[in-house]
Subunit: 218 residues, 2 copies
DNA sequence: AGTATATTGTGAATAATATCACATTAAAAC
DNA sequence: GTTTTAATGTGATATTATTCACAATATACT
């Protein structure tokens, strides 16, 4: 299965926006506020809530705390999520140091690498041999993993993860991986995201040069 | 403008797959091969090509080299793309070290940070003061930038970038930014991508537990 | 208390995207 | 040279996602 239902992604965005509203002292918000914060229409916001069975108050909008709570439950953030990471290269190390996951209730509990020189059992988040992954994952019933290895190694790592019982994978290797029926793989490819920006910059450039209305609308 | 037309993203994926096919010695490919590699249907592949005016050979498929070339032109990869980076934290430094961009014809030519202790004019990719950004960008006519700063700083950085003449931005800060009419902002939020995986893992878990067919199809 | 107002919630309408199905045609087989 | 075959390319169709429009209703105002 390949991920990406936009309504789920938007739900996360709403949650992030709500946390910002909260830190600004907001107690309630309207669909309009969220729409502006996230860059969608207010009907989109309400429709999304409707899909997930979230309701607010006619007039009165939504209570920020309640709404955050409801979204967190839907997103499975009521308990801390243990996650493993495979690959202790530049990307992997940056992810290890990144504070944002814990803030959101997701914790990288171990990192694995095939390179023996990278191992470090004593680190705050231990860096272990990939050989140990299966045992580690099974004994702790970990369900989610991150791949941050070169593209050539990615498929093998995914296979090992699934073999170990991992059900969901966030893949940063620049290759589109796919899992089995009952697993999720989310491929995030940062080169591709940059390429995408460049494409639109070029498209915009062409559009403004050829000032006439053209058929390639963005 | 907010990015993401899936056909453009898929085009990048096709290109990546083609490079792998090429390194395996393939001279021609069929829409089926690309479809399998990228995880879409073959009609999707052909439809995408049709949209971008790419054609192959009835029977015979597509010549790998020609196809890569055509896609590169569409994606604006015929000349090397100079990109700036703002933020020399964990994420920023990992991006600086990352080899994947150059391989794809995209080069981070400078990094900017507000923290004076992080500056390093002599580094291979210099880390300069954010104050210098505008001059740098304007003198080199740079059009694309990457934001890798904390969320609270992101909007201000975006404003400075656009002020300097940047037209396209890849934003890694966990906040949805939006640019002006004639600019592109691509928000990539890795926390959110991981959250998304967790959501589907939970959904799959529920689906398999409640074994009966249920209304939440994925 | 009654009226006006602002906002939700959602079916209906529309728009965007993906799939189907098949006519077309180049290559291979005979 | 003719037939068969295996692919492309694309209109037609189906599906999915978004927006519209407005009834329902809680709150604020008088």
């Amino acid at each position: 299965m390949i991920t990406t239902k936009n309504c789920v992604i938007r739900l996360s965005r709403y949650k992030n926006a709500l946390n910002r509203f909260k830190s600004l002292g907001f107690v309630k918000v309207f669909s309009d506020n969220l729409a502006d914060a996230v860059g969608v229409t207010s009907s989109q916001v309400r429709k999304d809530f409707s899909i997930f069975g979230i309701s607010g108050n006619k007039k009165g909008g939504y209570k920020v705390d309640e709404l955050v709570e409801k979204i967190n439950i839907i997103l499975g953030k009521n308990e801390i999520q243990q996650v493993i990471l495979v690959g202790a290269g530049h990307m992997g190390k940056a992810l290890l140091k990144y504070k944002g996951f814990e803030k959101e209730g997701m914790k990288i509990v171990a990192c694995f690498d095939v390179d023996p020189t990278k191992l470090n059992r004593e680190a705050q988040t231990p860096i272990l041999s990939t050989k140990e992954m299966k045992d580690f994952v099974q004994s702790r019933r970990i369900k989610v993993g991150i791949i941050a290895v070169p593209d050539a190694a990615a498929q093998a790592v995914l296979d090992q993860m699934l073999e170990a019982g991992i059900k969901g994978v966030l893949n940063f290797a620049p290759i589109t991986l796919r899992g089995a029926e009952d697993t999720v793989v989310n491929n995030v490819n940062i080169e591709l995201e940059l390429e995408n920006v460049i494409y639109y910059v070029n498209a915009l450039g062409k559009a403004s040069r050829a000032n006439e209305n053209q058929d390639f609308k963005i």
